[in-house]
């Protein structure tokens, strides 16, 4: 790998450098834990890397009941931010699932979304929390739900020169994120299951990651859940069976399709049970 590193000092400069039609192909560097890993193993590095280290996007703050996460805030800061563990327990678990403490000192939410790994531990939980991303680019600013931003494996809706500034989670939600791996620590999830219940809209969200080509919400499973709370054990079982039937599964170096299908059923049951203990037959 050999590339030039450019470090713009302002958002305007970053957008201008990236959006310039005459610019060489450019990779965007946030924490770098995924990008630099990828660039280590290749001689086909892009000629230019643009660092976001001077962008003013490192703060994490609660605005009433919504949590605003700067796109380049280290994940370790998010994990340690006030009320995250108590008010967004699924998010806290998902952040803790990413790499190790030294890795989370550099890895970022914006990087995780923009890189859109099929095995991302953060995308499933962000989907269930109805998180939205604020983007800035050559044509101004816009806001997209995370589900619209992440389009597929390593594919996003980010336009040329467009960057993620912030991710906002609209409200605190009882939630959970569970994963399965070969090794518990510092490994990539074979399957991840996220679920959350909205106390204001009174609906469930459930998403699966790692299992197939991209993390997905499963609306059919959510509709099984919507109804009286706490959930009945039979409802949880029906949802778990539906998830293992409906989620897209594939076989790769980490696990087979059949294994993932079985594990999803177990994780959905456990995740739902941990958010809302079964309340009846």
């Amino acid at each position: 790998m050999a590339f030039a590193l450019v470090t713009p000092g302002s958002v305007d400069e970053a957008v201008r450098l990236l959006g310039d039609p005459a610019a060489p192909p450019t990779a965007v560097l946030a924490g770098g834990t995924d990008l630099l890993f990828e660039l280590s193993g290749t001689t086909a590095a892009p000629p230019r890397v643009l660092s976001l280290r001077k962008m003013p996007w490192r703060s994490i703050r609660w605005d009433g009941s919504s949590l605003e996460i700067g796109s380049t805030a280290p994940l370790r800061d998010l994990e340690r931010a006030p009320r995250v563990r108590s008010d967004l327990p699924g998010l806290w678990s998902a952040v803790r699932a990413v790499g190790s403490v030294p890795l989370r000192h550099r890895a970022t939410v914006g990087g995780n979304l923009a890189r859109a790994s099929p095995a991302s531990d953060l995308i499933p939980i962000l989907l269930t929390l109805d998180a939205v991303a604020d983007l800035v680019g050559p044509h101004g600013r816009r806001r997209l739900p995370v589900g619209a931003l992440v389009r597929g494996p390593r594919t996003t809706a980010l336009g040329a020169g467009e960057l993620i500034e912030r991710v906002t989670i609209p409200e605190a939600r009882p939630s959970a994120y569970l994963w399965q791996r070969v090794r518990p620590a510092n490994d990539v999830s074979q399957v991840g299951v996220a679920c959350a219940w909205s106390p204001t809209a009174r609906h469930w969200r459930l998403a699966v990651g790692g299992a197939g080509p991209a993390p997905v919400r499963l609306p059919e499973v959510e509709s099984v859940l919507d109804g009286p709370t706490p959930l009945a054990a039979s409802t949880i079982a029906a949802a778990a069976a539906a998830a293992s039937r409906l989620a897209p599964f594939s076989t790769d170096k980490r696990a087979t399709e059949g294994y993932r299908r079985q594990v999803v059923e177990v994780l959905v049951r456990r995740a739902l049970g941990s958010v809302a203990p079964p309340g009846g037959p």
Binding site: F3, P74, H105
Partner: protein, 157 residues
């Protein structure tokens, strides 16, 4: 392409104009500054052997571009003696004989020093061990490492 890089490394100001823009902090430390206490293990962020502190935060130097830590404070194992927390961790490792081949030791010491520095209240040994999961010992000599961590976990940094 190279550019100017200024940082404090183990308390000593460093000002160099020869650091390539695509160079990793690990390589700058080892091959430009001769600080070979920082070890290269996997070079993919999986083993923790290359962990250093950057502004007191444990950081994988194999996955960090040198220019990304421009203007910051870097602490490697060579500077542990001048840092009260790292020195205490180092002493605990020596006391517990938590070293076999020694390759993972600098990374363990700095990762643990980083955990102790960021905690404002006393940390339980179990919390510290959970947060050390990113450091691997290729000798699998974990028993003595766990003993060293437990000896540190009981008191405040």
């Amino acid at each position: 392409m190279s550019g100017a890089w200024r940082a404090s490394v183990n308390g000593v100001p460093v000002d160099r104009g020869d650091v390539p823009e695509d160079e990793r902090l690990l390589d700058t430390l080892r091959w430009r500054l001769g600080l070979k206490g920082t070890k290269e293990g996997c070079r993919s962020g999986d083993c923790g052997a290359c962990t250093v502190l950057v502004d007191d935060r444990s950081t994988l130097s194999c996955l960090t571009l040198t220019h990304e830590v421009d203007g910051l404070r870097v602490l490697t194992i060579e500077g542990a003696d001048g840092d009260p927390v790292a020195r205490r961790v180092q002493a605990a490792f020596a006391e517990s004989q938590a070293v076999q081949c020694g390759y993972c030791t600098p990374g363990f010491v700095l990762a643990l020093a980083g955990l102790l520095k960021e905690r404002t209240t006393s940390a339980s040994p179990d919390e510290l061990l959970e947060d050390l999961q990113g450091n691997l010992c290729r000798c699998t000599g974990y028993t003595a490492i766990v003993r060293a961590v437990r000896s540190l976990g009981e008191d405040r940094p």
